[in-house]
Symmetry: C2
Subunit: 315 residues, 2 copies
């Protein structure tokens, strides 16, 4: 069997929760003298997103916006990769919710594949799995949706006190048939299981946590560059998760990117939306910028112990 | 890029909970006159498996037995696909447990990919995803582990009153490098989201549930045969989930298999171990039967609304 089919990433969509100023978050006032609030505001955060919808309902709205302008009929979507870290939701114990989601989106031929363990890098591994399944002709058009939500009794503070979590879903289509958007050139992943024994909420472990995280990010970018024989200057844009401006600056240094190569507008707009960040940022970047055929973009997703990067090229 | 690499399924391993007679299950005596217990005993069930280990701990023991006789070093396993439906376990909210599992198994290069939504057919989609990732050379050696356990407050009765759930983990390696065991020829999946609105525990909906389930199984076997241009008589063995002898008989009729083409020894031994059944049955079949090069086996996994089948060939 020969394998020459290209895989395209197209039809970005997303659903964000309602936006509120982060200073309205009670838990940020529980620390002495609002120190954490001040730090986060100084680091560029302003608002976060909170949704009353379930992860499945947010996913549905995102998928509907992805499908609205898709160049293929819904019934041609033959798989849906649903990726999440929000397993606090008891509805995961049955398949009723995913079946309803598929029905409500009229995706009657989309076989459901749930994916997890890469946290805020879930989108990157979902894109890699979708691409493989398409290249081996197991499926032709795969809808990828990331959806995550903070449980009512969970903290929104991202350890170690670096950002605020937002509720959102984001989606796209990976396809060998829709030849538009971006060609997926490469994906790489990296992991460091030493994180298992480190608690970023313990003051004395923060430095070790940050060192491993930085080294993971650096290694992931390095692998992406080496495997595609590119350097950071070959890229039109680095699209990464929204933590805060200081984290973004650090990642630029680690990957040898210029600070203005990164899309940062969404850091004040909604802070950190789990694995949805990168697709939302890509969508918003495209809506506000001219992009040329051949432009390269690095989609970087950073979990706590796993990191991933997709290299995509505008077609 | 050409794609001629074959994918092999090898090194089966499993960990079963401790075995108890099903008549010791209190919930089976809560029905009038032990009617359900009688029915299940008549349908060939005798014992079930209960484990005090967590899903991660069962997975570790299964993985260790898979790795014990593997023809490659642990560090060559470059991904682990961990598939489960047991999301009642709160440890899924972090990656600590999977990182510890990877460390304890000395799989320092195994990138973790969590997979769900196919329930008792999770193993079949995990094998398909692993195979695609190997064929596209994203990874070379992928450890697949299925692990599931009934929560202390959940029922062990499989709706609609057809079997008893057992706690277990089962694993194997999918590889382009270890040329032994079985070659993976094909995988097919099928789904029917109409199940979303059917409750098999409601007496008046059981018939509709069973009709959809039977039609899903029939369609899945049909696709597997059509895509590989085989008929049931070409297969040495059908390996399926353990529900009960009557279900097995029905599946044989639906797929045009002879009753003695199915491995049934584990139905009385431990009843239904979620997605682990098929790998455990395959392992036990191989331990008690001579198998020849070229023998075909159909691994059939049947969830409630998704069904999957792997066609494998002895090398």
């Amino acid at each position: 069997m020969s394998q020459t089919n290209k895989v395209y990433l197209t039809n970005l969509g997303y659903k964000l929760g309602n936006l509120f100023p982060i200073y309205e978050l009670n838990e940020l006032h529980e620390r002495s003298e609002d120190e954490l609030l001040e730090t986060l505001l100084e680091a560029g955060l302003e608002k976060y997103a909170k949704s009353d919808l379930s992860t499945f309902d947010m996913a549905r709205e995102s998928i509907q916006s992805t499908l609205k302008n898709a160049q293929i009929a819904n019934h041609k979507i033959d798989a849906i990769i649903y990726t999440t870290s929000s397993f606090w939701n008891p509805s995961f114990s049955s398949t009723n919710e995913i079946n309803r989601l598929i029905n409500e989106c009229n995706l009657e031929n989309a076989y459901p594949i749930g994916l997890f363990f890469s946290e805020c890098g879930n989108t990157q591994i979902a894109i890699r799995v979708a691409s493989s399944l398409i290249k081996t002709r197991e499926f032709k058009n795969i809808l990828v949706v990331a959806t995550d939500k903070v449980a009512y009794n969970q903290t929104r503070i991202v350890p170690p006190d670096i950002s605020i979590c937002s509720d959102a879903a984001a989606s796209c289509i990976l396809s060998s048939e829709i030849e538009e958007g971006f060609e997926l050139i490469h994906t790489t992943q990296y992991m460091n299981t030493a994180m298992a024994d480190i608690d970023p909420n313990q003051l004395e472990q923060i430095e070790q946590y940050l060192n491993i995280a930085m080294s993971g990010i650096q290694q992931t970018i390095h692998q992406a560059m080496q495997n595609t024989m590119k350097t950071s200057s070959d890229f039109r844009q680095l699209i990464m998760n929204n933590y805060n401006l200081s984290v973004t600056q650090t990642v630029c240094k680690l990957g040898n990117f210029e600070y203005d190569q990164v899309f940062k507008n969404n850091i004040p707009r909604f802070a950190h939306a789990f694995a949805c960040d990168t697709l939302i940022n890509l969508s918003d970047f495209l809506n506000s910028n001219q992009i040329n055929v051949g432009d390269l973009i690095l989609l970087l997703g950073t979990g706590s112990s796993t990191w991933g990067a997709n290299v995509i090229c505008k077609v």
